[in-house]
């Protein structure tokens, strides 16, 4: 399509490779043991890196490609909805907070499931959570791969299959080689690229549209609903938009790829710094990226596929070589989400299932081989799934997020802050949350005008409390105070 765009993108991929390989030296060198290092980076993250890796993991294809595409269609109402995500910048780290960091260290936990295992002492909890993670994150990951490949496809003009192949090879190499540390370091590079990419495209778009006032007038002339909080058709109700505070705001505390980062920081100063940096960066990126989608409308009218808005506007308003560099931003977002997910799913298989129940006495060398092997096999499986992708990128992705939130939110929160929480409550709550979510999502979507995730979260709350209270005395007394 455009040589300078391709050259810039290729340079970015090479940079990411180099970082992955460089980081991999640490996997063998650090003294804290292979597992702690490969899956957790030896709990050494500083504040800036912590903030960036949380945002990069969380800001996925749906925020950077799908989200602006929907904002293009719906107008400012969708930007309003997206701003619910500012809460993730501070809420996750404050609520999981120091308690999670301290308990994870006491339990020597490497994954979310590790934490649940030690907190609840229950095989059922462990297996149920590990399989929820494997199933839900696997589908989220497939959605992200499709997004990444589509982006490369639309930028370079390669076929979808070759684009997917390039993407898959790039992701697998650095996840397998570098582990968690490579992932978070590249997340940081990608986070920085995203911030500058957002800024540059936003400014370029405002200039191309003749200033914000001009763009607003154009939008109002086309359809006044575009500048209201209610969406182009007027059907974004306050209840629906607010319910996204659960799905993409506070519910994010329960996502395993996010919680693992909340146990990986070095000290409380790092956490404090990450709170401030994270809030600024996540708010800026969400506001900027979605505004770009809205502002693009008068400049590029009539784009049919939402996913194409972002690449098209960047190439429209910027010189080609700048467009190439900043389009690395959404690609960066997708890759960094994918690499984290891949690592989480592989840790669920290796750590939570294999080491717990299949071969507890495995040697370090064996665990290492299994970890690399499982990561590679998972990558190939996702590749196969992404070859003939389901069309609904956001749907698959949000489906997975909702399912994980319904499963984990109360076992995590009550596990941390309610001493009488026990395994009966936890397993009841997880089962009720996941089952009701799948049923509601499939057969009665968006009950009472709210997103499908809301009722399952309420239901799993009730199940947890009732389940725990009815079974007091059947487990050991409170584990901690």
């Amino acid at each position: 399509m455009n040589t300078s765009v391709i050259v810039s993108l290729a340079a970015f991929l090479v940079l990411i490779f180099a970082i992955g390989i460089w980081s991999s030296r640490n996997v063998n060198r650090k003294g804290s043991g292979f597992l702690q290092e490969y899956f957790l980076g030896s709990r050494e993250l500083g504040g800036f890196i912590l903030a960036m890796t949380m945002i990069a993991t969380y800001g996925s294809a749906s925020s950077f490609i799908g989200g602006p595409g929907v904002a293009y269609t719906e107008g400012l109402g969708w930007v309003l909805l997206a701003m619910a995500q500012v809460a993730t910048g501070y809420f996750v780290l404050m609520v999981l907070g120091k308690k999670f960091a301290i308990m994870a260290r006491k339990y020597n936990a490497v994954t979310l499931v590790d934490f649940l295992k030690h907190r609840y002492n229950s095989k059922a909890v462990v297996l149920f959570s590990a399989f929820s993670i494997i199933i839900f994150l696997f589908s989220a990951m497939a959605a992200q791969w499709v997004g990444g490949a589509r982006l490369i496809e639309s930028l370079t003009g390669l076929t979808y299959t070759s684009a997917l192949f390039i993407f898959a090879v790039a992701v697998l190499i650095y996840v397998i080689l570098g582990g968690f540390r490579a992932v978070v370091v590249t997340d940081t590079v990608q986070g920085v690229v995203m911030v500058f990419g957002t800024l540059v495209i936003l400014i370029g778009t405002i200039i191309a549209g003749g200033g914000i006032t001009n763009i607003m007038n154009d939008l109002m002339a086309e359809n006044p609903n575009l500048v209201t909080p209610f969406g182009a058709e007027g059907n974004l109700t306050p209840a629906y938009v607010s319910s996204f505070w659960i799905l993409v705001g506070v519910g994010v505390v329960a996502l395993p790829q996010v919680t693992v980062r909340a146990m990986s920081y070095r000290n409380s100063q790092a956490m404090h710094r990450a709170l401030i940096v994270g809030t600024i960066v996540v708010g800026f990126i969400m506001l900027g990226m979605h505004l770009i989608g809205v502002f693009a409308r008068p400049i590029l009218p009539g784009v049919e596929t939402g996913d194409h808005v972002m690449p098209m506007i960047a190439m429209e308003v910027l010189p080609a070589w700048v467009a190439g560099i900043v389009l690395a931003a959404p690609l960066a977002a997708i890759m960094s989400t994918v690499d984290s997910l891949l690592l989480i799913v592989s840790s669920a298989v290796v750590r939570d299932v294999y080491m717990n129940y299949i071969k507890p006495d495995a040697t370090v060398k064996r665990v290492k081989q299994v970890s690399f092997g499982v990561t590679a096999v998972l990558g190939v499986l996702v590749f196969a799934l992404a070859l003939s992708p389901p069309d609904l990128l956001i749907w698959l992705n949000l489906f997975a997020f909702g399912g994980l939130e319904a499963a984990f939110i109360w076992p995590v929160i009550f596990g941390l802050y309610w001493n009488r929480a026990n395994k009966y409550g936890a397993i009841l709550s997880m089962a009720a949350g996941v089952l009701s979510y799948v049923v509601i999502h499939q057969f009665y979507p968006d009950p009472f005008g709210m997103h499908s995730v809301v009722l399952p979260v309420v239901l799993s709350f009730v199940c947890f409390v009732v389940g725990s209270l009815l079974t007091q005395g059947r487990t050991d007394a409170a584990l901690h105070t």
Binding site: F91, M94, P224, I276
Partner: protein, 96 residues
């Protein structure tokens, strides 16, 4: 790896952690009320009657732009003045 040998009771650091978690919940409530109040308070008027701040509709400016800046200020203030440094290193903690 079982937690039998580990002291999970009455860690003094938990009081700090609990307080900070409550602060997180309070912040998110403030954030939500501000966001919702301005968006649907100002934005429910017919679009012809909108006022504009920096070219953006007033509801959007106050809810999303100002709301975001408010949260940055609140988070920074809370972290600087209300959050306490604790050690995560257990041996160090016990020797105090």
């Amino acid at each position: 790896m079982e937690n039998n040998g580990i002291d999970l009771h009455s860690d003094p650091r938990y009081r700090i952690a609990n307080r900070e978690a409550v602060i997180g919940v309070v912040l998110v409530i403030i954030n939500f009320v501000w966001w919702y109040g301005f968006a649907y308070g100002l934005g429910s008027a017919p679009p012809e009657e909108y006022t504009f701040v920096f070219g953006l509709p007033a509801w959007f400016f106050w809810s999303c732009v100002a709301g975001f800046l408010l949260m940055v200020i609140l988070v920074t203030a809370v972290v600087k003045f209300a959050f306490t440094d604790v050690s995560f290193d257990e041996e160090e903690e016990e020797s105090r």
